[in-house]
């Protein structure tokens, strides 16, 4: 019988999503927040379903060092409601040991029996024959490889060595705090469960990022997962299975337009038919569009965006092509035409700054819209 456990990380419980625009009568922020709390139940259920007795949370369980009491206590209670599963919580950089000291004290004192805070870098026996080697994060920004203690951690002979750490494997900031990608070998690990990266990534056979179970950015393009890990015996390769548990889909789609293309139709073509309510979508539009196309695109966006949990149209990369026909639509001559031509000239000028060109381009689009609006 192999040893099985659930590997998850970066729950970021308590995250507010105040940067997601919310209509006056909307509730998207609340829903996103609630979904993160709901992950606890889903993880517990996944463990039970898979016959795993342990859930390893590889850091950043809480979004901040001082979550509000209701956030914290409700999370702990939710974990307590899955008595068959033991929760092993590792401090990450968001809920690091130093800044979140009260948090960890509270967990140690008040958490249900099946919730264990891993605040010491010392081996813990998960079960006979399986030793957990945790590397809690002491500071928000460290200067050394947080998984380094793993090399020195002892475990009973013949026991599975399961590392649990939080941090990046790529040193983006050159601060020296990246986790060595071959740590599994240097520390003789059977599996290294990592947290910090929000996307799912298998670094190597034994080293995995599970990603956040409830996504919070557009780049990964899929719902969050947790990992069901099965270890047969020391030294044997782990069996890793992804279980999709995220409620919300965050995705980003690129749309390239061509002049005289029906922009609204092009947009409609890339939009999903279903699941829009739980979908946060960002459409980045590139290419070229005429003035009426732009207006059509804007109208189409306004029409479809209420379908989605969140919809953003990014047109920074969309160039505007000014046909004489479009300008004729404004006016064939006279002062309006004169103004329009001035704006076109400015929008296409090579001496003006980008922001000045943008201002002129948008001013022209606005003029076009006014004229069409007046004639509608």
């Amino acid at each position: 019988m192999s040893f099985r456990f659930i590997h998850a990380s970066d729950l970021h419980i308590g995250r507010k999503f105040a940067n997601i625009p919310q209509p006056p009568d909307g509730n998207i922020r609340g829903r996103l927040m609630e979904a993160r709390h709901a992950v606890i139940g889903k993880l517990g259920q996944a463990a039970v379903d898979a016959g795993a007795a342990h859930v390893l949370l590889a850091g950043d369980t809480f979004d901040t060092a001082t979550p509000s009491p209701s956030v914290l206590r409700q999370a702990l209670m939710a974990m307590g409601e899955t008595p068959l599963v033991t929760w092993w919580i590792l401090p990450g950089n968001h809920d690091n040991l130093r800044d979140a000291e009260p948090l960890w004290e509270t967990i140690r004192q008040d958490a249900p029996d099946n919730v264990r805070a891993l605040t010491e870098a010392a081996p813990v026996e998960l079960a006979p024959g399986a030793t957990l080697l945790p590397c809690p994060v002491a500071f928000r920004a460290g200067a050394s490889d947080p998984s380094e203690p793993l090399d020195r951690m002892e475990s009973p002979e013949g026991s599975l060595r399961i590392g649990l750490a939080h941090g990046g494997v790529t040193d983006f900031t050159e601060s020296g705090d990246a986790i060595a990608p071959d740590r599994d070998r240097s520390a003789r690990l059977d599996y290294l469960a990592l947290g910090d990266w929000h996307g799912r990534m298998a670094v190597s056979e034994r080293v995995h990022y599970c990603g956040t179970p409830e996504q919070d950015r557009f780049k990964h393009g899929r719902r969050g997962v947790c990992l069901l890990v099965s270890l047969d015996s020391p030294g044997a390769p782990p069996h890793v299975e992804e279980i999709e548990i995220g409620s919300f889909l965050w995705s980003e789609t690129e749309l390239t337009l061509h002049p005289r293309q029906d922009a609204a139709a092009a947009l409609a073509a890339i939009l999903p038919e279903q699941g829009r309510r739980d979908h946060l979508l960002r459409v980045t539009v590139g290419g070229w569009a005429s003035l009426p196309d732009r207006a059509d695109l804007t109208r189409a966006t306004e029409a479809c965006s209420p379908d989605f949990a969140h919809f953003a149209l990014v047109t920074d990369a969309l160039g505007t092509q000014y046909d004489s026909a479009d300008l004729d639509e404004i006016d064939r001559g006279g002062a309006l035409r004169l103004a329009a031509e001035t704006l076109v000239e400015e929008a296409e000028s090579e001496t003006l700054s980008q922001s000045e060109r943008d201002v002129s381009a948008d001013a022209l689009a606005r003029l076009h819209a006014y004229v069409r609006e007046a004639e509608a």
Binding site: G14, R15, K16, F17, A18, N19, I20, P21, D63, T64, A65, T66, P67, S68, P69, V71, R98, D99, E101, P102, L103, D331, G333, G334, A335, L336, R337, L338, A339, T342, L343, D358, V359, S360, D362, A363, L364, R366, L367, Y370, V371, E373, A374
Partner: protein, 867 residues
Amino acid sequence: MKIRAITLNNVRRFTDPAQLTDIGDGINVLCEPNEHGKSTLFDAIQALFFKPYGSRDKDVSALRPHAGGAPEVTVEVETDDGRFTLFKRWFQKPLATVHRGGTLVAQADEAEAWIAQLLGGDAGGPSGLIWVRQGMTSLAGGSSKEEKQALEARRDLMTSVGAEVEAMTGGRRMDKALARCREELGQYATSTKRPRTGGPWKDAQEQVASLAERRDTLTATVQELQEALAERARSRRALRELEAPDAAEERRTKLETARAAHAAALRHAEEVETLARAAELARLNADSAAAQLESLRTTLAEIATAQREVRQAEATAETATKTLAEQRAAVEEAEAALKKAEANLEAAQATQRLAQRARAARDGAERRTALEARIAQAEATRAQMESAEAAAKHGPDAAALQRIETLAAELSATRAARDATATQVVARYTPGGAAILGPDGPLPDGQALPLRHATELKIEGLGTLEVRPGAGGQDDHALETATEKLRTALAQVGADDLDAARTAAATRADAQRRFGEAKAVLASLAPEGIAPLRAALAEIPDMDAEEDAPDLEEAEKALLAAQTAYSERRSAREAAAEQLAEARTEAARADALLTSLRDRLRRAEAQQAKLGDLSEDALTAQVTQTAAAFAQARAAHAEKAEGAPDLASLKAALDRATSVETQAQDEIARLRPLLARLNERISRASGDAVEERLAETTQELQAAEATLARIDHEVAVLTRLEDALQTARNEARDRYFAPIVAELKPLLQLLWPDAELTWGEESLLPHALIRNGREEPIDILSGGTQEQVALMVRLAFAKMLARAGRIAPVILDDALVFTDDDRIERMFDALHRQASDMQIIVLTCRQRAFRALGGKALCLETSAPTS
């Protein structure tokens, strides 16, 4: 169209037909005083062209005469198609007809349509555009309907020469776009492009500011929380270390050890101190014994010395006493001898004096006699001298006499001078004749007698002869003065006349001589006066009766011997006295020495007595013993001191151990409440979920900043659009007005070089005059300037009409009211310039001023009604 003739009938004052004929091309001037019907003429033309024949409105009513009736107006016009006669009658049998050469072309409504066609088919036609009613000196004005018509006319005209204003300026579409733009912009910004209070722009800015502030506050709180956490960790660690049993035990052991070591050292130090005191005592004993021995030895030696010296001194004193007694006796002896010698000397002296006196008496007898004689002679001489001196004081001296002599001479000269000029009589007596008596007696013969005043000369026997000298010429006054002077001088010397004075002077000189002689004699006899002589006489001793006076030589020899003896005796006594004094001094010195030595001896003996009856041997033994004791004590002290622990170091060690313990206790006492406080602070801050709120605020701030950036962009877009539209419209307007500006330019330059007009887009009228770069709204210009501008604009419009092939006559009814003579000339130039290819009809009452206009003069002819 050009007007050739006008006929009015039953129009206001023209109840009889009035006619204006032969109206030519170019300028036509009807110059009439006021109240001669010019305005009536204008109104009639206006009515003909614009009032339907069926109209009964007030304008038409105003044309009726007082007496009532149907106003009739006939105008002959010439068009490209030929010459037509237009006729209208209102009210009774209203009618409109158009004839061509007597042929009816149109009538009634058809005629109206024909006229409208003639005018160009427009609502306003040329009336408001180029016809100027009296008093309408500005461009705008008139009824609202007229204004509207005029505006339409202008618009038509402008459109006909250029594009439509709408096409040019964008018209209503432009207005709408601008309005929309401004409306949207207005939500964000004020007219000065500042964020509008309550608007989304301002809100976004405030939102960003308030969120940034909240974020900063929360950041600070988080910072505080983290600091508190760090401090708590430090404090806990410190407390744990302090309170660890091992550490506490170690501190306590160290303290105890230090304390014990310190106490031992203290005890040791006390023992050393005791030994030091014992050694000191031994040293004192040894010193004391040695001193005692030394003292005894010194005392014994002193006694021996003193005794010896006393003995010597006693011997010396005895010798001195003896010597003193001997010397006293010697002195007494010398004294006696001296007294004897003194007595001898005195006797010798007496004898010698006696002998001397006797000798002196003998020597003085002859000298006395001589001296007495000399004194007597001197006294006689002195008496002589005194009498001569007294005599010499009387009579004039030489100087006084000399003065008197001079005065006498002057008197004689004066008198001679007077007599020389006076009347003189000279008597020459016949011999034996009677004498002639003058005042001073008979006149001398042959001698001239001067007569100074009337003088009676008595001639004996004959009577008297009175001679009267002439008045004047004689100076009696000088004579009197001279006489008086002489008399005064004489009186001063006490002489009666000149001779007496001379005698007295001689006497005085004699006495003086005698005085001098006596004085010289006296000086030889007694050069120092008589008194010394008498004193010398008194000194000469009288001869007395001591006949037996000793011989002087012998007496002197005896005296010399006595004197020598006396001197010897006195020297002897002096020597003896000196020796006595020496002996006395010696005796005193010996006594003093003896006394001192005895004293010394006594002191030494007293010292010995004080030392008691200790023997020198006993003392010597004691000295040896005490010295040994001292050496022993000192060795003991040195030995003890050698092994003494360092008390200062041990004290320092104890202090340190104590302070470590105290510090530990203090630190514990400080840390416990500090921890409590930190716990409280941390639990409060973490309970407030500050980091959660900070994360939320940071996100909100990012969103707000994005919103603000979007709005900033939006405002920039709208501002840019508004500006682009406004600029384009201004440019278009300028282009639109270009034709009229071109027409106006040469006209304006007649009055104001480089002047320009700006145009109102709505009114299609100039709204400002730019002169010398300064823009002046039309309505603040002077009346003269306003009417000049108005007239020029109309002329320009007329020119444009003409260019458009729609020539219309310009009718000006007293259009230049306010213009002065200088300007009016230039306005006439303008008129002539424009008139070359059009018709201008000028109605004016300013006959004199308009004489200079030139042009064709018109005359309103009233004649009998024609059929």
